[in-house]
Subunit: 205 residues, 3 copies
C-alpha cells in the first residue's frame, strides 16, 4: 500500500521532469506527453522487453497512461512553480528513483534471476527513463554524469536481493527504498559523484 | 486490397523520406538503407515489440525489406526530382501516416486491447518511424513539432475504434484513413499546429 | 572452441571501444560501464528482441556482464596505451565484427529464417552495438560512414548462409569469419568505403 503510493509519486515526479525537459526544447503538447511517457514508463518498459516480461505495466493497466497525461499537462501549467520548488522536486525524484529500482529488482528476482541481473534490472528501471528523455531531447544523457544516480539504482537492487530472504518482501522493499533514497539525497546535498573518466585523444577508434 | 496498395505507398514514401534524411547527413549507402528501414518499418516494429506481437511484419514477410531497399536506392537517384515534387511527396507521406496509424490500431484492437492502447499503438506505428529517423540522424525529432503529425495518428486510432463495431473492418479502415489524411493535409495547408510548451529556465532538474 | 575464444575477444574489444567513447564524453564510471555494455552486448540484444529469441545472451549467462565490467574498467586504466596500439585494436575490432555478424546469422538461420533475414541479423548483431554507443554519446553513428563496416557484416551473413549447407556449421563459421575479417582489414588499409549519398536541400520533408 505505502509502496503503491510511493510508486505513483515516482510516476508523477518523472512525468513532470519529462514535461519540463520537453518544454526546454520547445516541443508541442504531443512532444510533452511523449517525453513524459518515456521518462516515467520507459525504464520499466525496456526492462520488460529485455527480460521478456509481458504484458508491460501500461499495457496491462492503461490507467498509468492517463496518470502520465494528467501529470505532464499539469506540469506545463505549473512549470515555474515546480522550478521554484526545486528542492521538493529533487526529493520526489530521488524517491521515484529508489522506488522504481527496488520494484525493478523485485520483478526480476520474482522471475528467478540472480544478483547480477537484479542489479541490472534495477539500473534499467531506475535510470533508463531519464536516458530516453535526454536521448529524445537530443542531449547527452545526464544520468551518466549525475550524482550517484545509477549507482543508487544498482545499490537498491543489491539491497533488496540481500534483504529479501532475511526479512521478507515488504520489509526488504522498505529497507531498499529508504537506504537508496537517503544515499541519493546525501549525494545531492554534498555533490558526491562517481569518478569521471576523461579521455582526450583524436577520434581514432 | 485498396488498403494493401495504400500500405505499399506508405512504405515507399517513408523509405524515401528516410533516404533523403540520410543524404542530408552525408551517409554511405548502408546508412541510407538503414535509415530508410527504420523510418518505414521501425514504427510497426516498436509497436510489435512493446505489445509482444511476433513475428514482426518484415520477419514474416521479408519482401518488405526489398521494397525498402529498392525505394531507398531509387530515392538517391531521383532526390532532386522528389524535392521538386514536394507537394506530391507530402501528400504521400500524409497518406502513409493515416494508413500506418489505422493499421496499428487495428492490430492492437485485434489482440483484444481497448481505446487507450489503440490510440497509443496508432501513434507508435504512425510516428515512431520518423522519430527513429531523426534520432539516428542525431537531430531533434521533427514529429514533436510538426503540424498535428502525432495528433492525426492518435485520431486515426480513435476513429477506427469507434467505427469498427458500427461499420465493420473495411469501412472503418477507410473512414479512419480518409479523415486522418484529410486533417493532416489541412494542417499542412494552413500550418495548424498543437500549442507549444516553451519553458526557459536553467537546467536544474 | 576457437569461435568461443574469438567471441570473447570481440566482447572485450567492443567493451573497450565503448569505454574510450565514454571517456571522450567525460562520463562517470557508470556511464563508462553502460556504454561498454551497449557496445558489446547491445547488437545481439536488439537482434534477439526483434526476432523474439529469449532469453538474451547476458540474461542466460550473466558472466558476460562481468567480462564487460572488467574490460571497461581496465580500458579506463590503459586508455593511452590502447590508443598507441591503434593498429592492434582495429584488428581486434575487425575480428569482433566478423565473429558477431557470423554468430548473429547462425542463430537466425537456426531459427529457420532465410537469407534476407540472416543478412539483417548479421548487420544488427555486428553493427548495432556501435550505433547504440554513438547514439548514447549523442554523436552521429560512425557505422553509417565507416569503411565497409556494415557491408562486411552483411557479407558474413550471406557467406555463412551459402557455406553452411555445403561445409557444415564449423567450417562455414570459420570461412565467414576469415573472409569478413580480411575484407574489413583491406578496407581499413586502403580506406575503401561505400559510395556516399550527399543531398543538400532545404529541410522540407
Amino acid at each position: 500500500m505505502i509502496i503503491s503510493i510511493l510508486f505513483y509519486i515516482g510516476i508523477i515526479a518523472e512525468s513532470m521532469s519529462g514535461a519540463l525537459a520537453a518544454g526546454r526544447h520547445k516541443m508541442d503538447l504531443f512532444g510533452v506527453f511523449f517525453i513524459s511517457f518515456a521518462t516515467a514508463l520507459g525504464g520499466g518498459s525496456i526492462r520488460d522487453v529485455l527480460f521478456d516480461h509481458h504484458p508491460l505495466l501500461w499495457v496491462q493497466s492503461p490507467h498509468y497512461v492517463l496518470v502520465v497525461l494528467v501529470s505532464s499537462l499539469l506540469a506545463t501549467r505549473i512549470a515555474y512553480f515546480i522550478n521554484r520548488l526545486e528542492r521538493l522536486f529533487l526529493t520526489l525524484d530521488a524517491l521515484g528513483l529508489a522506488v522504481f529500482s527496488t520494484i525493478g529488482a523485485k520483478i526480476i528476482i520474482g522471475m528467478g534471476y540472480d544478483l547480477t541481473l537484479a542489479m541490472i534490472a534495477a539500473v534499467v528501471t531506475g535510470s533508463f527513463g531519464g536516458i530516453l528523455r535526454d536521448l529524445f531531447c537530443n542531449s547527452m544523457p545526464l544520468v551518466f554524469r549525475k550524482e550517484l544516480y545509477a549507482f543508487v539504482a544498482m545499490l537498491c537492487g543489491a539491497l533488496y536481493w540481500f534483504a529479501f530472504p532475511i526479512f521478507g518482501e515488504e520489509i526488504a522493499t522498505l529497507i531498499s527504498i529508504s537506504i537508496g533514497f537517503l544515499i541519493r539525497m546525501i549525494a545531492i546535498r554534498y555533490k558526491i559523484s562517481l569518478p569521471t573518466f576523461i579521455f582526450e585523444a583524436k577520434e581514432k577508434l
